[in-house]
């Protein structure tokens, strides 16, 4: 009823206005005297009819738009500044959303949980295929369980990362296919391609189903292409899926371990399931030795690519903070721009106040103005984020070491409701940030002064503006110092001597059964200098550890170890400091001898000659798959000491101590052959003679070395970009504040000059203002960086967060920028002519 009346009123509101105005006029006439504001009475009466807010809203919007038309430069600057910052944050959120928030494209993703049990050391049990089958048959807690193992193999000449999966994989997930059919439990020699692989590698061939592809030279029939959105259940998109049976055929043995993922029974909560699994795991491991008994279970949601856990948050929060700070700076900049406009607005607002406008109404008006700026800024941000993602992806593939670029696949980065929600919230937050403070400040006007025509005396926003500038400088210093720290770390890594001469060396990964033939074929190639077999190629991750007892000692020491053939040291130009390399016979026989690295020799036999000593191996075979390959002997004789080299991830910085045991290309379980050759083509030619797609992967070792510092390079460029942006915003912020200050103090400066102040002292006065703010800001920024430092020392060992040079560089850059920003305003102040300024009033 009331709503209906309101709507009717809204239609005839012109008539209503006229009536009301006449009524009030009459009232005043009869009263014979006017008191109070007729406008206020009108406005309050109008407000009763409810839709008035709508009308006054429309009024405010019209008014704001008119204002923007008058100063388009201001509106454009605000939209561009906020749009850029919003765009960057949206980009980050889109990536975060795609990996951590968006559920994977399967039926009921939230009921999928990865499962393993943990032993007393807290290590998760690694399921074998047999473990998995037993677990599945026991039908505990889950309605069904799948298993998968990641495969890294060449499919028709393209190296890819795919998954070998249990037969029920597609049925359990109910993922469906785009073409053909999914994998079924009875399948063996078949393959399902991902939609992206089908498009990128096979030209979206509509007749692909039924064709035969070679995975590591083993023929598989294509039975289907998965749905475009489906990427499997691992934390990266898979390029293909094959049955576990095909894995055994391709690799010559079933996978050592599989990851197990179950679907909750309908109506069963994760907590109940966890409890049931804990009971089951304890029973299942009851007969095993204590070290292998289950003490707990781990249940991890597989609803998204990367689970939303404390770990994933710990990694992303610093990134979000860095991006958020840029948004904060942008808001601060816009805020101070609005404050700079304030004196002009003050007059207009004073007039409105004296006409009876309420403060709430004025604040609302100013906030609507901010909101009207935020809406196009959000749209601009969306467009910018799209462009940034395209550009970023292309940049990543262009700068990534070639060997990674061919296998790395990123998820589809499409915006969805969550992304739009984020933009909406972020732009609203930005509006409040940049609009509220100026709105409150500006409306703090007193009626009396406004009536007198004096609109400036009450206006003291200096403190707020100073706070904004200090915030900007702080954030800017923090980002630049961080960029400096990362840059120095990257430089340290890239000039670091790995000790292995990687130029001209290729790593060839291929199945065991091809290795002997491949080594022979490669060695017979004319421009191949050397071929070596190796268990774990260096620079591809930390060394495996083995427990040994050195002769003349009783303590067990954990040492990094590897298996290499005799040619390894020559191939990588690693000099032997003492003793000798393996003889060819020792390599072939896998004799009980060992070459130790310099640092290992120092650790095992301090102050003694290592050559001639023996080590006793204490690690038990087979207990833990992590130590899957052990020497067949229990003691080994040290025959040589090799110079230290970097073996694994260089950022761990502690993998130079290594025991080299002999091996040869015929031995099982070596992961790679290393070839020193003049060109990649030579290597490929030799390998093609063995079998189609025999090599999974041919990589250049110098790229592997370069890739060690790649993550740091990426982090540096991102931080440097954010820091640069922050610097630009800060410079314009300081410039704006000082320009405003100079224009406000023109008269005062004029008097000073008239009284004999020199150019130098005027410049000093303005500079002082800027330098004080900049000094406070940089000090705070450096303190923030120091406070954040301990977090990063724990996560990345190569990072030295207390890097004096980085700090000095960041601080210097910010201070220099502050001086630069203050230069022009101070010059203008120095140019003030007292004769003109003093006459103006």
């Amino acid at each position: 009823m009331k709503t209906w009346k309101r709507i009717r009123h809204f239609w005839s509101r012109r008539q209503y206005e006229r009536d009301l105005a006449e009524e009030i006029r009459l009232h005043r006439e009869m009263a014979g005297a006017a008191f109070g504001s007729a406008a206020l009475a009108l406005e309050d009466s109008r407000a009763v009819w409810g839709f008035a807010w709508l009308e006054s809203l429309a009024q405010d919007v019209r008014y704001a738009l008119r204002g923007f038309r008058k100063t388009p430069g201001f509106a454009l600057t605000v939209v561009a500044t906020i749009g850029l910052a919003l765009g960057l944050n949206t980009t980050l959120f889109t990536v975060f959303n795609a990996y951590v928030l968006r559920p994977i494209a399967v039926a009921d993703p939230y009921s999928l949980y990865g499962f393993t049990w943990t032993n007393q050391r807290g290590a998760g049990h690694a399921f074998t295929v047999r473990d998995y089958e037993e677990f599945r048959q026991s039908e505990v807690a889950f309605s069904d369980v799948l298993a998968y193992e990641t495969m890294f193999a060449a499919l028709d000449g393209h190296t890819m990362v795919g998954q070998a999966v249990s037969g029920n994989f597609f049925q359990l997930l109910r993922a469906g296919t785009f073409l053909g059919r999914p994998l079924l439990p009875a399948d063996s020699d078949v393959i399902v391609l991902s939609h992206a692989t089908w498009q990128d590698r096979f030209g979206a061939d509509p007749l692909i189903v039924g064709k035969t592809l070679h995975l590591r030279g083993y023929p598989l029939e294509v039975v289907g292409v998965a749905n475009p959105a489906f990427g499997g259940v691992a934390d990266f998109p898979s390029s293909f899926w094959v049955p576990l049976a095909a894995y055994s055929q391709v690799e010559g043995q079933p996978p050592e371990n599989v990851t197990v993922v179950g679907r909750l029974r309908p109506g069963l909560s994760p907590q109940t399931t966890r409890a049931a699994l804990a009971v089951w795991a304890r029973q299942a491991t009851a007969g095993l030795p204590d070290a292998q008994k289950a003490t707990g279970v781990r249940l991890q949601s597989h609803a998204t690519m990367i689970p939303f856990t404390r770990d994933s948050l710990a990694f992303t929060i610093p990134v979000f903070i860095a991006f958020g700070l840029v948004l904060l700076i942008a808001c601060a900049n816009v805020s101070s721009m609005m404050l700079a406009r304030a004196p002009a607005r003050q007059r207009e607002i004073g007039i409105r106040v004296s006409l009876g406008a309420g403060r709430a109404r004025l604040v609302r008006q100013l906030l609507i103005e901010s909101l009207l700026l935020a809406i196009p800024a959000a749209a601009a941000g969306f467009v910018i984020s799209k462009a940034a993602m395209d550009f970023g992806t292309r940049l990543m593939y262009a700068t990534l070491p070639e060997e990674f670029a061919q296998v790395v696949r990123i998820v589809e980065l499409s915006p969805d409701a969550r992304v739009f929600g984020f933009i909406l919230l972020a732009s609203l937050a930005a509006t409040l940030l940049f609009g509220l403070a100026p709105a409150i400040q500006t409306t703090r006007s007193r009626l009396v002064q406004a009536n007198r025509g004096d609109f400036s005396s009450d206006y003291r926003p200096t403190r707020l503006r100073n706070a904004l500038v200090v915030t900007q400088v702080t954030v800017c210093a923090l980002l630049l110092i961080s960029a400096g720290v990362v840059l120095r770390c990257e430089l340290r890594l890239s000039v670091q001597d790995f000790g292995v001469q990687t130029r001209g060396v290729f790593g060839v990964r291929l199945a065991d059964r091809f290795q002997a033939a491949a080594a022979a074929a490669l060695a017979s190639q004319p421009d191949v200098e050397a071929v070596a077999a190796v268990w774990k190629a260096p620079l591809y991750g930390a060394l495996r550890r083995i427990a040994v007892v050195p002769s003349g000692n009783k303590d067990t020491i954990l040492q990094g170890y590897n298996f290499v053939s005799a040619e390894y040291f020559r191939l990588f130009r690693i000099p032997l400091l003492r003793g000798r390399e393996f003889a060819a016979e020792e390599s072939l026989a896998e004799a009980p001898v060992v070459v130790v690295s310099e640092s290992a020799a120092r650790r095992l036999w301090p102050n003694r000659d290592a050559v001639g000593q023996t080590i006793a191996i204490r690690t038990e075979p087979g207990k833990d798959p992590y130590f899957s390959r052990l020497p067949a002997y229990r003691t080994a004789l040290v025959i040589g000491v090799a110079r230290d080299v970097m073996n694994g991830w260089t950022n761990t910085g502690r993998d130079t101590d290594c025991l080299y045991f002999p091996t040869n290309p015929k031995a099982a379980n070596n992961e790679a052959l290393l070839v020193r050759a003049s060109s990649r083509k030579t290597v490929e030619e030799a390998l093609d003679r063995i079998a189609p797609s025999a090599a999974d992967y041919i990589s250049r070792m110098d790229e592997a070395a370069a890739s060690q510092s790649y993550p740091f390079r990426v982090v540096f460029w991102i931080t440097a970009f954010l820091g640069g942006l922050a610097l630009a915003l800060t410079v314009s912020g300081i410039y704006g504040v000082l320009s405003y200050l100079v224009s406000q103090r023109t008269r005062e400066i004029g008097i000073r000059v008239a009284l004999g102040a020199g150019t130098g002292s005027v410049i000093r006065m303005v500079m002082q203002q800027s330098m004080l703010l900049a000094a406070i800001g940089t000090a705070l920024g450096a303190l923030c960086a120091l406070a954040a430092a301990p977090v990063f020392t724990h996560t990345v060992a190569a990072l030295q967060p207390y890097d004096a040079v980085a700090y000095a560089g960041g601080v210097f850059l910010v201070l220099a920028a502050a001086v630069g920003a203050a230069f022009y305003p101070s010059r203008r102040a120095a140019g003030i002519d007292p004769a003109i300024t003093l006459r103006s009033d």
Partner: protein
């Protein structure tokens, strides 16, 4: 009439002004100025109602259908908007009167205790 402290009189308890207007109109239809005058006279000048509170209150009553408005002519032959109480308005007046008396009695008891 002199100066008036405030237009939107904060001296009224919320809703009392509407009650007074309804009471005034229950004696016959009247225009805005007439209502204000009546309340002032009857209260012996202790209640002065400014247009800033009178007209918003009248709008609230109109919106709730407690009064209706129509244009008429005053004794002095001037066009004016007259307000008349409706049946719903009378009911509302009764109810407000009761709750007001109840409230007043309560306040009195507290003040005399």
């Amino acid at each position: 009439m002199g100066t008036h402290k405030s237009d939107s009189s904060p001296d009224f308890l919320p809703g009392t002004l509407e009650m007074l207007i309804l009471k005034t109109l229950s004696r016959g239809h009247n225009h805005g100025w007439g209502i204000a005058q009546h309340i002032q006279q009857v209260s012996k000048d202790s209640l002065k109602i400014g247009e800033g509170s009178l007209y918003p209150a009248l709008q609230r009553l109109l919106l709730n259908d407690y009064v209706e408005a129509h244009w008429g002519v005053t004794e002095n032959n001037r066009r004016a908007r007259y307000y008349r109480i409706t049946a719903a308005g009378r009911k509302q007046l009764d109810q407000e009167k009761r709750s007001f008396e109840f409230l007043l009695a309560g306040i009195a008891r507290v003040m005399e205790a």
